[in-house]
């Protein structure tokens, strides 16, 4: 009896039954031969087994490949479908959004009580924010491939927080939540950065706090982060470097709401992730809110994180972003320069392209002379048609006389606004008026005019006006 085995595995057993009364006598070398044959059979059997194994494996692999291929195609289809859906939704969402914005703007033009006016303004501001959000959110490809760019400009930092507070207050008061805002004393009033996206981030974080609190209070604090507090153990790979013309803004929003399971926290910043618990801190249920905030905060060279002691124990959201410090503005530059009578040729505005619209030849010439004296490149027009025809995106400021009989300066301003509504570069519109009343000023503000100046204007006044205007993009002197 011989075991047919190859290596350690036994494939078969070859039994040679020799009857005791067999006539054949088996010699030893014959038995050895039998053993050799048996070994060979064992080898053959093992090969066969291996072959069978590998064929099975190959079949399995082929099956898996087919399955993977199918899965890949399904995924591609899904992505295509998603992108198509988003493209359609993008358009679908924008349309009603425009309707809301347009009609709210029109509503603003009608007779309203102060309360109504306030409500309409809030609607408009919210819709504008929402419109930006739609543009950003639905343009997923930009977020995904990282080509989203910040819109940098100088803005009023304190106002951003106040705006957010105004927007969120109605919702909070309905839920009887108290909100407190604490801006540090040394927090600069003006900063350089992307105002809209910073506001979105603050709004999102505060909005979440409100949404997930059934009662209690929410506190928002904003301060300039000093070196020690910048290096945070929770953000070990964050190395902020404050410098002379930048500072780090740190915002902490603390709520006493439903809290978060600490294990869920990392997932919150992932796009489209849905946590198991019914309360998810991603806004709107589409799972994008915090992911977007994280993207914005990262673009602002900062960091955002959440902390919670657990469910029902409240949550603190913190983010740090880098903002620029604006150049010392005209306040220190112009009105305090010593009044040298012949300041000919002393101008900061060489090449500034402006358009002057005035139907009065003499005053048109005077305004033109004034602006040319300051180095501007001045074009003049004397009618609405000429104005609309001649104004281009190259003009940085348009001066409109709003007291021309027969020509509605306000209408013209609105039309100019509309002409450049979709463009990033649009001219600032300044109204020149001989009127001293508040009504004119309000009318101007309402149609989106950037500034009102009372005639007559002196050279120094025009110089400081242009500085202020170009710096802050708005100017309303006390009339």
């Amino acid at each position: 009896m011989t075991g047919l085995s190859s290596h350690t595995k036994c494939y078969a057993l070859m039994v040679l039954m020799l009857p005791s009364d067999s006539a054949r006598q088996w010699h030893v070398h014959e038995l050895e031969l039998v053993e050799v044959v048996a070994d060979q059979v064992a080898v053959a059997l093992s090969h066969a087994a291996i072959l069978e194994e590998s064929m099975r494996a190959r079949d399995l692999l082929m099956e898996q490949n087919v399955a993977l291929d199918l899965a890949r195609r399904e995924a591609e289809t899904a992505i295509r479908a998603r992108n198509d859906f988003l493209a359609v939704m993008n358009h679908e969402m924008r349309t009603p959004m425009h309707a809301i914005i347009a009609l709210s703007s029109l509503l603003q033009e009608t007779e309203l009580t102060p309360e109504q006016r306030l409500m309409v303004e809030t609607i408009l501001k919210s819709s504008n924010l929402l419109a930006t959000l739609i543009n950003d959110v639905l343009d997923l490809s930009k977020l995904e491939d990282g080509s989203l760019q910040l819109d940098i400009g100088t803005f009023n930092l304190h106002s951003v927080f106040k705006e957010v507070l105004n927007l969120i207050k109605p919702v909070a008061s309905v839920k009887k939540l108290s909100i407190t805002l604490n801006l540090a004393q040394d927090l600069p009033v003006y900063a350089v950065g992307d105002e809209k996206r910073l506001m979105q981030t603050v709004l999102n974080v505060v909005g979440n706090a409100v949404k997930f609190s059934k009662e209690g209070s929410i506190s928002i604090i904003a301060f300039v982060a000093k070196s020690e507090s910048l290096r945070d153990s929770r953000a070990p790979d964050f190395f902020p470097m404050p410098s002379d013309n930048h500072f780090y803004l740190r915002v902490q929003v603390k709520d006493s709401g439903s809290g978060i399971n600490p294990q869920e926290i990392p997932k919150l910043f992932t796009k489209f992730s849905q946590s198991q618990s019914s309360a998810t801190r991603n806004s709107g249920g589409n799972g994008l809110g915090l992911a977007i905030c994280k993207r914005f905060v990262n673009l602002m060279e900062g960091h955002i994180w959440l902390e919670s002691d657990g469910l029902a124990k409240g949550c603190t959201a913190t983010f740090i972003v880098k903002l620029g410090i604006p150049e010392r503005s005209n306040e220190s530059k112009l009105p305090f320069t010593p009044k040298v009578p012949a300041n000919h040729g002393q101008t900061n505005f060489s090449g500034l392209k402006v358009l002057v619209m005035d139907d009065n030849g003499v005053s048109r010439m005077v305004t033109k002379g004034l602006l040319e004296h300051l180095g501007c490149d001045v074009s003049t027009v004397s009618s609405s048609e000429e104005c609309l025809h001649g104004v281009s995106h190259e003009h940085q400021v348009v001066f409109l006389d709003v007291c021309m009989p027969g020509i509605d300066g306000f209408d013209l301003a609105v039309t100019i606004r509309e002409k450049f509504a979709k463009r990033h570069e649009k001219p600032l519109i300044v109204a020149l008026t001989g009127n001293t009343d508040k009504v004119t000023k309000e009318n101007c503000m309402r149609v989106g005019i950037n500034g009102v100046i009372q005639k007559p204007i002196s050279v120094d006044k025009m110089r400081s006006i242009l500085s202020e205007l170009l710096e802050h993009r708005v100017l309303y002197e006390a009339l």
Binding site: P341, A342, N343, H344, G345, D359, N360, G361, V362, S363, M365, V366, G369, L370, E372, H373, C403, P405, G406, G434, K455, P456, I457, S458, V459
Partner: protein
């Protein structure tokens, strides 16, 4: 020497025009705009004003004497005229314009007539004075910049 004397005369005349209320600060502002690129800026503007206003005054005159008075039209003309006058700093003329506009708004034809006479008068006086002023100024040569040539 002679030029300095002329310059002093020019300054003196300007000061008296200001003191007597014929001109206001706006005129000074216009002079500030005069530079090497624009050496005759003020005279050019003033000339434009008088040409323009002659036309406007004629229109107003026509509107006043022909048929029933259209106060709106009158007001529009006068608004233009007033605007121009304040642009060059013609203080007295501007004040008369304001008075005229008040009568216009009130629909007071007689008041309009009376005031219009005043407007024309102030306009004529100013024209004469400024003509003299600019003649003097031209003789005195460019002001403010040193080493100016006598024309």
């Amino acid at each position: 020497m002679d030029r300095n004397h002329l310059k002093r005369q020019v300054d003196f005349m300007k000061r008296s025009l200001l003191d007597q209320g014929y001109l206001d600060e706006q005129f000074i502002q216009l002079e500030e705009l005069q530079d090497d690129d624009n050496p005759n800026f003020v005279e050019e503007i003033v000339t434009l004003f008088f040409n323009d206003s002659a036309r406007l005054l004629q229109n107003i005159e026509q509107a006043l004497v022909s048929g029933p008075i259209d106060f709106t039209r009158l007001d529009n003309y006068m608004h233009q005229f007033k605007g121009s006058s304040s642009s060059i700093g013609a203080k007295r003329v501007k004040n008369e314009c304001t008075r005229f506009k008040e009568y216009c708004t009130a629909g007071n034809a007689e008041g309009c007539f009376r005031t219009f006479v005043q407007v024309k008068q102030e306009h004529a006086i100013l024209r004469t004075k400024l003509e003299t002023y600019f003649q003097l100024a031209r003789q005195a040569g460019p002001s403010g910049t040193s080493g100016g040539q006598v024309r």
